[in-house]
Symmetry: C2
Subunit: 242 residues, 2 copies
């Protein structure tokens, strides 16, 4: 135990929970941001969050903040992915924040539930490219969230969390393509999805084709194979692997 430090007089911190809420909209990965009212960083965009209460767990705090901010009770996915405690991250005081990743499928209800002037869905790429500046260290938090969702997509196959309860192959494929920034051959993608069966279940129904026409796509719903080992794997291109 080093000199000049008395652990019985432990330092006090404020603990907050911040949530990176992701969803797919218009073929893009989007994140929900709120505009800050008061100081510091007044008027700037930030990810939603709030103080943890003494009587609740971190997970409960995240769930509470999520429903308070989006009026959505349960996200398709709500996982903790990091904690941030740099001394200067909040100019007011010493704040340690625990960051959660939430994935929503129903976009309409989200924006409707919040004050439109105060909350908005923006493309994740705009945040990562710093076209939109975020308060605090929220840029770093969003960056980490994206990295996490990329891994999660491969190891646990959360792709179905982004789409509706029924979806087409093209919709599911666009999730992978948007998050990983790659392109898949539609035929091969389909084959891979069906290779591990239980992932998607055919509903028998069909989607109406878009205005451009095209053969109507079959509709599927998420299967029971949520856990471990996603159906699609990132393979590094031969050039990449040297």
């Amino acid at each position: 135990m080093p000199a000049g430090y008395d652990p019985s007089q432990f330092p006090a911190f404020a603990v907050t929970v911040d949530i990176v809420i992701l969803t797919m909209s218009e073929g893009l990965l989007q994140v929900l941001l709120v505009r800050r009212g008061g100081a510091p960083y007044a008027g700037m965009w930030a990810i939603p969050g709030g103080f943890k209460r003494p009587a609740e767990t971190l997970d409960e705090a995240a769930k509470r903040e999520l429903s308070e901010e989006t009026s959505v009770d349960a996200a398709s996915l709500l996982t903790q992915f990091g904690a941030y405690g740099d001394p200067e991250r909040d100019p007011r005081m010493n704040v340690v924040t625990v960051a959660y990743l939430a994935v929503l499928r129903d976009v309409g209800a989200v924006v409707a539930g919040t004050d439109a002037a105060e909350a908005a869905l923006v493309p994740v790429s705009d945040v990562l490219d710093e076209k939109i500046e975020l308060a605090f260290d929220h840029l770093r938090i969003v960056r980490d969230a994206i990295e996490r969702v990329r891994i999660e997509l491969e190891v646990s196959g959360i792709a179905t969390a982004f789409v509706g309860t029924t979806f087409t192959m093209a919709e599911l494929r666009s999730v992978y393509e948007a998050i990983w920034g790659v392109e898949f051959d539609a035929a091969n993608f389909r084959r891979s999805i069906f290779a591990t069966d239980g992932w998607v279940v055919p509903t028998g129904r069909r989607a109406r084709p878009g205005s451009a026409g095209g053969r109507p796509a079959e509709l599927y719903k998420a299967g029971w194979a949520w856990c471990h080992g996603g159906p699609i794997h990132r393979t590094q291109r031969p050039e990449e692997r040297k």
Copy 2:
């Protein structure tokens, strides 16, 4: 903002950093535990940790605790993997802890650096099977750490963090086998490692065979391909996937 809650009067928490220190020893995955001196849980085993100081970041706190507890300056790997803030996790007060995973390669120095009566390396399996009871919610933390290292092994290939600066194929293979609980064919494993080259670099030297004899193994060192996409993948057995 809900009624009856004033965020300006934010609740104060103690913030600690706990470290799950893993290493390979005698072919087993082992975790470093310390015996608690004072209350609560006096005399029980726990993972090392301590209070975060106001002027340091979480990563700095983890690094400091690591060197204080093990007299090892830099671990091969030190990553944060979770935060735990259940209200009742510490009977004394409201403590939020941020958990780190550390991987050490040099075992001898570790145990020598700490008081042998107070610290010990124990097989992870003994902890997971609850043969050794841990203080606080440290069992859950260790469980999460193991799950994390399993994933990390696949997506970022941290296997070389467990072995020495030079190692044989058998040593590297035993890391995967111990962590994933599987067995690999030595020949196939070797082939997979070399498939993505840059992972291991031959040194030209050879290891002395064990007392049981056997052909001397070639010695390798870790390559530069630390990032993204490990060389070995977990393939679910055909029975598992359906």
